[in-house]
Structures are given as C-alpha cells and as structure tokens.
C-alpha cells in the first residue's frame, strides 16, 4: 500500500513538474501573468509530492518490506536502523529519488526566496528547473522505479554492502547531491537569462549565492567522501582519481571558476557570456557525472550495476540538456552587450587567469576520465588512465593558479598595478623561497617536488595574510588595525578563509605524500615495532560481537619517548549478510599527523598481519576543505550577498 502511495506521489510529482515547466515558460513567452504565476505553486506542489514519495520509500526500508524489489535487494532485517534509513540512497533507484528530491527542494527554495526577482525571469528559472525535474522523474518512472514489487516477496533481504555501513553513507551522498543538484539553479538562471536576452550585474548578484551554496555542499561532500575513503578502505589513501571521484571534481572545478567569474559580472559587468557558459557547463558536468556513475560504462569502485537502458536514457537526456542549452547559448549570446574595459593587470585579468586554468584543468580531467571509453569504442582495447597522469596535470595547472592567486586579491579593479602588488608580496616571496631552499637542503635535493609544494603553500598562505594586513592597514596604522579588521565585510573574510583553506589542502597533500611512513608486519601479542619514532606495542586481540557482524579487535599501545600517546583498536570484521570481511582502521589524529593501524587475519597461530602508518599533516586536507566551506558560509552571510537580496 505504502509502495503504491509512493509510486502515485511520484507520478503526481511528474504532473506538477510538467505543469511547472510548461505554464511559466509559455506564460513568460506570451506575457501571460496568470500562466507565469503557476510556477511557484507547481514548485511547492512538486516538492511536496517528491517528499511524500521519498518518505514512503524510507518507510519501506524502515519496516524492511521485502515485497519491494529495491528493499529486498539492498536491505536486511538485522541491519542497524541508521543504515536502513541511509540505505535508501545506497542504491541506484534510491539515489535518484534523493536527486529528484533535492532538485525539487531547490525549485521550491527559488520560489520561496526569489520573490524579488522580476516576474518573467523568475517564471523562466522555475520553468527550466521543473523541466529538469521532468527529465529525471521520467527516468525514474520508466527505468528505475524504486516501488516495483517483488512477487513473491523475499523472506530476507540481500543486505547492504558492509563498506557502506558507516556514518559516511549518512552524510556523504546527500551533501554531494546538494552540490550537484544545486548547480542546476545556476543552470536555470543561465538559461533563463538567455531566454530573456539580458545579463546584468543584478543577474550575477542573484546567481552567486546559489552557486556559492552548491559549491559549499560540493566541497563538503567531496571532502567527506575522501575522508571516508581514508578511514574506511584501510590503506590510508584519500584520493584515487577514480572516474567517479573525477565526476565530482570536474563540476567542482567549473563551479569554482563560475564563482569567480560571476564576481566580475557583478562588479564590472564583463565576462557575461563566459559566465553563462560556465553555469551551463557546471551543471552539464553534474549530469555527466550521473551518467558515468549510473550507466556502468566505466570501471570504477563506485559503479552501480550496469543497465544499458538506463545508460541510453541518461545519455539522451544529457544530449538534450547540454545540446539544447548550448544551442540556445549560440543563438542568444550575440545579443549580450560587452562589458566594461579593464587593464591587463587588473583584478579582472587575475580572475580570467583563474578561470582559464580551472576550466583547462576540468577539461584535462575530462579527457583523462573519458579516454579509456573513447579508446575502447575506437579499437576495443581496454586501458586505465592512472594517477601519474592526473598528478602531472594537477602540478602543471595548479602551480600557476596558486602563483596567480597570491597576486589576485591585491590587484584593484579596472586598473591594477602588478608592480605595486609585487612589492607588497616581496617578503612573502622571500619566505617562500627560503622554504623551498630549506626543504631542498634538509632533504639533500631528493625531494624537489615536495620543496616546490611547500613553497607554493607558504606563498599562498603568506600572500593571503599579507593582503589582509594591507587591507586593514596594519603597517601604516597598527593601532586602528583591529577595528578595521572587525569592520571588514564578511565576504572579504570569506575569501581569505577559503584561500587559506586551499593553502592548507596543498600543505596536507604535499607533506602527507612525501613523508608518510608505512610498515607492514606480522606481529604477535607482546611484540613491538617502531614507526616514525612511535613504538607500537601489540597487546593481542579479543573477539567482539556487533549487531550484524563478528570481529576480532586488536589492541596497540603507542608510546613515544616513554610517554603513552594513544591506544589503537583496529578491527577485522566479518559481516553475516552478505558474508564479507572488512577491516576497520583505528586512527589517532594529532595536529601534526595521524597514527593509523589496520589489522588483518591471523596467519598460522597467534600472529596477525598488521599495517601501521604515520601520516603527517593529513588532517590538514579536511581542515582546509572545512575552511573553504566556512569561508563560503561567511560570504553567504554577508548582507550584500544574501539569497534573493534586492537588486
């Protein structure tokens, strides 16, 4: 009954989405106010219907109704409640339901917060947003209906992949989806602006907070996913250049570029058509990501089961959305007026450098991700493009980006002076150079890349602080500096924090890649071993029983210089449904690095294989990402940037 109700609500959502797409779009074209006014109501109704449908599915998982195919295939009665609920989006059908829920949530948010937008513009935004929902709802209803019954009903479910039974599953997919789907708003705003034939600074002011919101969720989602991989997969890696990771990274890169180019539109009225293009491309990458993950065309650790019908549907949808919007772009963009002039070394130019590098980076990642597919289609050979390629591309493209980032905020709009900025940054340059030479000296020239990474991190963080110091006139009038600091616009703090976050990530990547110490060893109780100056004493194992697994738990005392530092208790679990082994790493985070222990199965008698790590600065990665999000939040809370602020 509940399944049928959910199915019905989903069909209702499709109906409302059709209404919300056709009414406002036709209304706006014909100048019919009553048709346009349908938009908000349809958006609310569509959200309500999607929510009911989603709650129905959640309820089916909650009561473990195994007469529903998706539940039987992915759930189990013995599974902890948290994972029954989170398991809703741990599978193909449910994750699409989450996607649609987010899509309609954003539509409703625009309806609610966008009251100050011009009528026709708002109608068009809502219309485009609903049109996207129509596509996804059709996709669910025709190829991936989560409410399909299983006849006869299963007695017990298949269970959820134990690796997914982790708090990470509760937060990572929803955050990521909020980011992916949030970019749809930027897309809808861009298409609406093309339909209107006008892009003005007010447009950028409307679109920027939404993009910023999506970007924050995307950042948080990616960072959380990488943290999850770090502690769950048991070998301390946090980024694998897996196609699905790339699928989330590309929209992030483009969204980051979009955030910056929208500033130029807002402040200077320039880069309009480029910004529109970025908004379209950012969401297209979101869709492409969905295609890559959901169609099973690519070998990936995240890939869901492949189903050609689904792949073809998404590919067609992708073609319509991307092709249609780009065609509209080509048709309408010549109408846009050119923006203001600016000098070669003005802030605008720095932001263009940012945009060129970020979008080139996204393009390179795209090629690396799709190359295996293209080659397979071409001559049937299967290859994989590995981390060396992506790492190389990252170094080549991120380095100039970081260098330019140091200058950007110090340049003024319209007519900036590079030499002035360079003089201000001279001390930072010297410090960075000393870091570089110091590292070279300390490592005896063996780690030039590490030295280079550290130099960039020092340069970036130093220049951010230097810019802040100049902004508050710390050197000219130190007495009033604090007052000035407190009076700075929040958006400015936001920028500085986010840039500092980038620096921290850079620092974390460089140091943890260079100086991680790893030890693989066979140990029995009472033995000890040294890892990077820490002595790990193995105190044996104990058997434990969890809700749906049994495990052995190893105990390690870690001491350094006679002082106890940590107790680590990694587990080797055996889940019952399905029978699967997983290792649970035990991590002791410290400010300068993590101690990380994994225990494997017993090897003849009482000896266990263990893997121990010291991972310096690795938490700077998540800390940096967190700073970026906090920076985004601060910017968002700036009065001038509030969602739906008056133009």
């Amino acid at each position: 009954m509940i399944a049928e109700l959910g199915h019905f609500a989903l069909i209702m959502a499709l109906g409302f989405a059709c209404l919300g797409a056709l009414g406002p779009l036709i209304g706006a074209a014909k100048g019919n106010k009553r048709l346009m006014a349908l938009g908000s109501g349809a958006a609310y109704a569509q959200f309500t219907a999607s929510l009911i449908s989603f709650l129905c599915l959640t309820y089916l998982f909650y009561i473990s109704d195994f007469s529903v195919r998706v539940v039987a295939a992915n759930s189990h009665t013995l599974k902890p409640m948290m994972y029954k609920i989170a398991g809703v989006w741990g599978n193909h059908e449910g994750s699409l339901m989450l996607w649609v829920l987010m899509l309609s949530l954003f539509a409703a948010a625009v309806a609610l917060r966008g009251k100050r937008l011009p009528d026709t513009f708002r109608a068009r935004v809502l219309g485009v947003q609903c049109l996207l929902a129509v596509g996804f709802l059709l996709f669910i209803l025709f190829t991936s209906n989560p409410f399909d019954r299983l006849i006869p009903a299963a007695l017990e479910g298949n269970g959820l992949n134990p690796l997914l039974q982790d708090p990470g599953l509760v937060f990572h997919p929803p955050l990521l989806y909020l980011g992916y789907v949030g970019l749809s708003i930027a897309f809808s705003f861009a298409v609406a602006a093309l339909l209107e034939g006008d892009v003005n600074p007010a447009w950028a002011r409307w679109v920027r907070p939404w993009t910023l919101t999506a970007w924050m969720f995307l950042t948080a989602g990616i960072a959380l996913g990488s943290w999850w991989a770090y502690y769950e997969l048991g070998w301390g890696g946090w980024w694998f250049w897996d196609p699905v990771e790339n699928a989330s990274f590309m929209p992030w890169l483009v969204a980051t570029a979009l955030l910056h180019s929208a500033i130029v539109v807002e402040k200077r009225g320039a880069l309009k058509s480029w910004t529109i293009l970025l908004a379209i491309v950012a969401f297209s990458f979101s869709l492409l990501g969905t295609f890559l993950v959901r169609s099973g065309v690519i070998t990936s650790v995240h890939a869901f089961a492949s189903d050609p019908a689904r792949g073809i549907f998404i590919l067609a949808f992708l073609a319509i959305v991307v092709g249609g919007s780009l065609a509209l772009y080509a048709w309408r963009v010549p109408r846009l007026t050119l923006g203001g002039l600016f000098g070669l070394t003005a802030r605008e130019s720095a932001l263009i450098v940012n945009n060129v590098l970020l979008s080139t980076f996204a393009a390179v990642v795209l090629v690396g991700t799709l190359y295996p597919l293209m080659l397979e289609a071409y001559d049937g050979s299967q290859i994989s493009v590995g981390p060396p390629f992506f790492n190389f591309a990252t170094i080549m493209l991120v380095s100039p980006l970081i260098i330019a980032l140091g200058f950007g905020p110090l340049l003024s709009w319209k007519r900036g002076h590079l030499s002035k900025a360079a003089i201000r940054l001279l001390p930072i340059f010297i410090v960075a150079l000393m870091v570089f030479l110091g590292t070279i000296w300390a490592t005896m020239g063996n780690q030039i890349l590490t030295a280079f990474g550290l130099m960039l991190a020092a340069w970036l963080m130093g220049s951010v602080l230097m810019e802040l110091a100049h902004r508050i006139k710390l050197f000219e009038h130190p007495a009033k500096a604090l007052a000035r600091l407190l009076n700075l616009p929040r958006a400015h703090f936001g920028m500085s924090l986010a840039h500092l976050g980038v620096g921290l990530v850079l620092l974390g990547v460089t140091v943890s890649e260079a100086w991680t110490v790893e030890k693989l060893e066979l140990m029995q109780a009472g033995e000890s071993t040294d890892v990077a100056g820490y002595t790990f004493i193995f105190n044996g194992v104990e058997p434990i029983v969890g809700p749906n697994f049994t495990a052995i738990r190893g105990h390690f005392d870690v001491i350094k210089a006679g002082r106890s530092v940590a107790n680590l208790a990694p587990e080797d679990r055996v889940y019952a449904h399905p029978v699967t082994n997983t290792t649970e790493a035990s991590i002791h985070p410290m400010w300068h690095g993590d101690l990380y222990a994994v225990i494997g199965e017993a090897a003849g008698g009482k000896r266990f294989s263990v893997r121990l790590y010291y991972k310096p600065f690795v938490s700077f990665l998540w800390l940096g990402a967190m700073l970026m999000c906090v920076g985004g939040l601060l910017s968002l809370s700036d009065r001038r940037l509030r969602l739906g602020a008056a133009s």
């Binding site: 741990g90 089961a305 130019s349 994989s384 590995g386 693989l520 082994n581 290792t583």
Partner: protein, 152 residues
C-alpha cells in the same frame, strides 16, 4: 580602441597558449607510462606483455587458489577468466571484499616466471559486489565444472 584591442589580443593569446600547452601535455601524457592496459588473463599472451610492464589485471579469484606464504604476509592466488589462469603474488593486506570466486582488479606487472606481482589490489565497493570489467567476457567458458560457481 587600439589599446583595448591589443589587450584583448594579449589576454586571449596567453590564454590560448596555456590551453594548448595543457592539451598538448594531455596527449603527450596519454601516450606515456601513465596509461595502463586493462587486461583479462587470456589477453595477456595476446598482447605479449613483457615482464616488468605495468598493467591492470581484471578477473575472478579462482576458488581454492588462495594461499599464504611462510612469512604470513605474502598471498598467492589465481585470477581467471575461465579460459586462462594467471597466478598472482601479493604482499600486503588484502582489501575488504576480497574473496575467492569474486571479481578483482589488480595493478602490477609480470615477473620473469610469468607470475603477476601485484602492487595494488583494488577494493571494490559496488552495491552488487560485481566490479565491471571483472566478469569474464567469454561466459560460456565458465560453464566447465571447475568454474561452476561463476555461471550466472
């Protein structure tokens, strides 16, 4: 108008320069070592893989083939596509979800004795526990008794 034009030209030229060098770099790198073949066991001889040449091996872990060496840290097992069996050696902790009879993707290279020395065994966390690219292409071959568990 001349300065404006000049500026735009300089900006656009430098932007294009970066773009082109990056694209050139991409194609250069894609021809190099960073691209690995992804093979199933029976394709290894077809492609004439040399010892030491890095590639990805996909297939099923043969049931009953997993054993541990004396040191307790080195594993031996066979990866099969039901046509050819490829012996594999791996030193380290096998990842979660590694089981006999299931799909794996392994990175490494052959040694002189044609044993695949694995440097990384990839963990799979697919909802259906079947990694794409590990299912034997020739499923008919999997009907023979020793590989009965692979038949779908």
């Amino acid at each position: 108008m001349k300065t404006r034009k000049n500026q735009r030209i300089v900006i656009i030229t430098s932007a294009l320069f970066i773009l082109f060098s990056a694209v050139g770099l991409v194609f250069y790198a894609l021809g190099g070592d960073s691209v690995n073949l992804f093979l199933q066991p029976s394709e290894i001889s077809e492609k004439d893989m040399k010892s030491g040449q890095y590639f990805r091996l996909g297939g099923l872990v043969d049931k009953g083939s997993l054993s541990r060496a004396e040191d307790g840290l080195t594993y031996h097992f066979t990866v099969t596509d039901c046509v050819t069996d490829q012996p594999v050696r791996f030193k380290g902790l096998l990842p979660d979800l590694f089981r006999e009879g299931q799909g794996v993707v392994i990175e490494g290279s052959l040694n002189d004795d044609k044993v695949f020395i694995a440097s990384t065994v990839l963990a799979k966390h697919d909802e259906n526990y079947a990694a794409p690219g590990t299912m034997p292409k020739n499923t008919d071959a999997c009907q023979h008794p020793s590989a009965g568990m692979y038949a779908k």
